[in-house]
């Protein structure tokens, strides 16, 4: 009985995701195909060659026919082919890039929550000490620093100064090997991506922790002789977690959008890099494809976050 409600809820949400993805990609598709000029504007092409290219990609047909074909393709999971890198199919490309972005994003999320909660809890249980002031002011600084600024400082430290200091023995090489990179290559971009949000989490954790540790059941736990660590970790932290879970949704969206910038700095072959590249190349099919992928990712991430609520707070049920 309990599970049927949950399943129904998941079904509804999935339907909503499909609808959103269709709507978003339609808007972007139509908007982008109404733009004046074409992808193939280039002085080296003669009019006849241009016509042939337009014909080859079906761009000379009426917009509604192109849109119909796009929708049919989308329903089969086919996003068409690239205009610039001729013959490259977009679906497998974007799928692989989504995995890369998800990998970096997941690690960033881990950093964000781990670091943020650790700092927040420490600041709360040492309220009004130098540790608290240090962490709180670090959080304000972190909150005001765009992720590309954090990335720049990390690069200066790990790629430039570390190389000079160790005489080139040990340093961070900007770049990416293979499809998924190595742990060393991922961790610095992931940290840059997560750090600004970690300070948001830290502020929130501190505030909710301060509220929780003043409550009666914490006093009860202490009074019955539980060690302080157990009181904090098992009793206080669990309830302090609830507000943090509620901002997970915006957090995931923030990390996804932040990855657009971070991937371009660190040369990570993910969705974000592709998105900017394809916009600059006017490879509009890929722009639509990547945006569609983003819409789907955000929808699924939000669904997962919403499914987390009842696990942490049993009062919530679907």
């Amino acid at each position: 009985m309990r599970w049927r409600g949950t399943l129904l809820y998941i079904g509804q949400r999935l339907l909503l995701i499909v609808f959103t993805v269709l709507a978003v990609s339609s808007i972007v598709f139509i908007g982008i195909h109404r733009l004046p000029g074409s992808v193939f504007v280039s002085e080296r092409l003669r009019a006849s060659q241009m016509q042939a290219l337009l014909h080859q990609y079906g761009l000379d047909r009426p917009l509604w026919e192109q849109y119909r074909d796009f929708l049919l393709g989308l329903l089969h999971g086919d996003l068409g082919i690239s205009y610039v890198n001729q013959g490259v199919r977009i679906s497998p490309l974007v799928g692989r890039e989504a995995l890369v972005s998800a990998e970096v994003g997941a690690l960033a999320l881990l950093f964000t929550i781990g670091l943020g909660m650790l700092l927040g809890v420490l600041a709360a249980i040492r309220q009004n000490t130098w540790l608290d002031y240090l962490f709180t002011s670090t959080a304000v600084v972190g909150y005001s620093m765009p992720n590309f600024v954090v990335a720049t400082f990390l690069l200066l430290v790990f790629a430039v100064f570390l190389q000079r200091a160790t005489g080139g023995m040990l340093y961070y090489q900007i770049g990416w090997t293979g499809t998924f990179g190595s742990l060393g290559e991922i961790s610095i971009p992931a940290f840059a991506l997560g750090f600004p949000y970690a300070s948001v989490v830290a502020r929130l954790t501190r505030a909710s922790m301060l509220e929780v540790i003043r409550q009666d059941y914490i006093r009860t736990a202490r009074a019955k002789g539980l060690p302080e660590q157990l009181v904090i970790v098992r009793h206080a932290l669990r309830n302090a977690l609830i507000p943090v879970i509620t901002i997970l949704g915006p957090l995931v969206i923030g990390i996804l959008t932040g990855s657009v910038v971070i991937e371009n700095i660190f040369g990570i072959p993910g969705l974000g890099k592709e998105f900017v590249q394809s916009i600059l190349n006017r490879d509009y099919n890929i722009v639509v494809g990547v945006f569609t992928m983003y819409a789907a990712l955000v929808g699924i991430a939000n669904l997962l976050v919403d499914l987390l609520y009842p696990l942490v707070d049993p009062r919530i049920r679907y």
Partner: protein, 300 residues
């Protein structure tokens, strides 16, 4: 509770005077005590001064190349050195301040123009209007804002300052609309609104003469905190090469240039990133200070 003797007159007169002071005098008194916010506000005033100065005068041209040696580090004549094309970094930083502030304030003007009337109407009338606005807000919260701004810039055929401001405002109006809606919803139940209605005030007058002034505090705080977000967005867009087009300098595009040369001359990337961070921080401090001053109950 020091041992300082207090004259009986101030003891009595002060609380009385305080009670008579209006919201704004009260807020100003509280804000003056917040030293961090004052320092930040002074910095921002200075920045506005620099931005206005940059309209008329910069030490060197912001677009002429080869004024300095490319990648030249700081020298007395060029305190922040030269960039990859031999342009003076300090001059470009000054003009960049102008762009950042224009985008930040311009975006908030659009956001106010969109969010305040929508929020007032939805909060006051409820019904289908509110349902429609809430749905719209939820849809906008569900899509990644930076990506929408990017796509909008493409669709608008990038990119003058106006397009950038519009694109950012479209992705940022919801916070304001939601806030004003909430304020209107709680204010409409208050007695003074009922009194105004029973006196025969028209809807327009109730919305803009009675509801709006009472919601002004939170609106000002929200608008102040929205400015750094908009500046950040512009920096993101320009960093990716989709914002302000070269050769016009923006802190974002200057940082993007600098990252390329991070190994040989880090000063090119440090100047705009530090300026950006300090400015964002200052706006956040002032916004937080205003929040504490205007609405002490909402202390976080």
């Amino acid at each position: 509770m020091g041992g300082r003797p207090i004259a009986i007159t101030t003891f009595i007169a002060e609380p009385m005077a305080q009670r008579r002071a209006g919201l704004w005098t009260d807020a100003w008194r509280r804000l003056r005590r917040n030293r961090l916010a004052l320092v930040a506000a002074t910095y921002l005033l200075g920045l506005v001064g620099v931005a206005i100065l940059a309209v008329f005068w910069t030490p060197y041209s912001t677009t002429h190349q080869g004024i300095v040696l490319p990648y030249q580090g700081p020298t007395p004549a060029h305190p922040l050195g030269g960039d990859s094309l031999g342009r003076d970094v300090l001059s470009r930083l000054m003009e960049g301040a102008q762009i950042s502030l224009l985008v930040g304030v311009g975006t908030q003007v659009v956001v106010l123009a969109l969010g305040v009337p929508l929020g007032l109407l939805a909060g006051y009338f409820r019904s289908w209007l509110d349902a429609a606005l809430s749905l719209l807000i939820n849809i906008f919260y569900g899509v990644p804002d930076l990506l929408v701004a990017l796509i909008l810039i493409v669709l608008l055929g990038h990119s003058g300052l106006g397009q950038i401001i519009f694109a950012i405002a479209v992705t940022r109006w919801m916070d304001m609309a939601r806030l004003v809606r909430g304020q209107a919803m709680s204010l409409r139940e208050r007695e003074f609104v009922e009194a105004a209605r029973s006196c025969g005030s028209g809807t327009f007058k109730i919305l803009f003469r009675h509801l709006l002034p009472n919601a002004l505090g939170p609106i000002i705080v929200q608008a102040t905190l929205g400015i750094p977000q908009a500046i950040l967005f512009e920096a993101f867009l320009s960093f990716l090469g989709l914002g302000v087009q070269p050769p016009t300098p923006s802190w974002g595009s200057m940082a993007a240039d600098g990252v390329q040369a991070i190994r040989i001359s880090p000063h090119i990337v440090l100047a705009p990133t530090i300026a950006l961070s300090v400015t964002l921080m200052a706006f956040n401090f002032v916004g937080d200070g205003l929040r504490d001053a205007l609405d002490p109950r909402q202390r976080r």
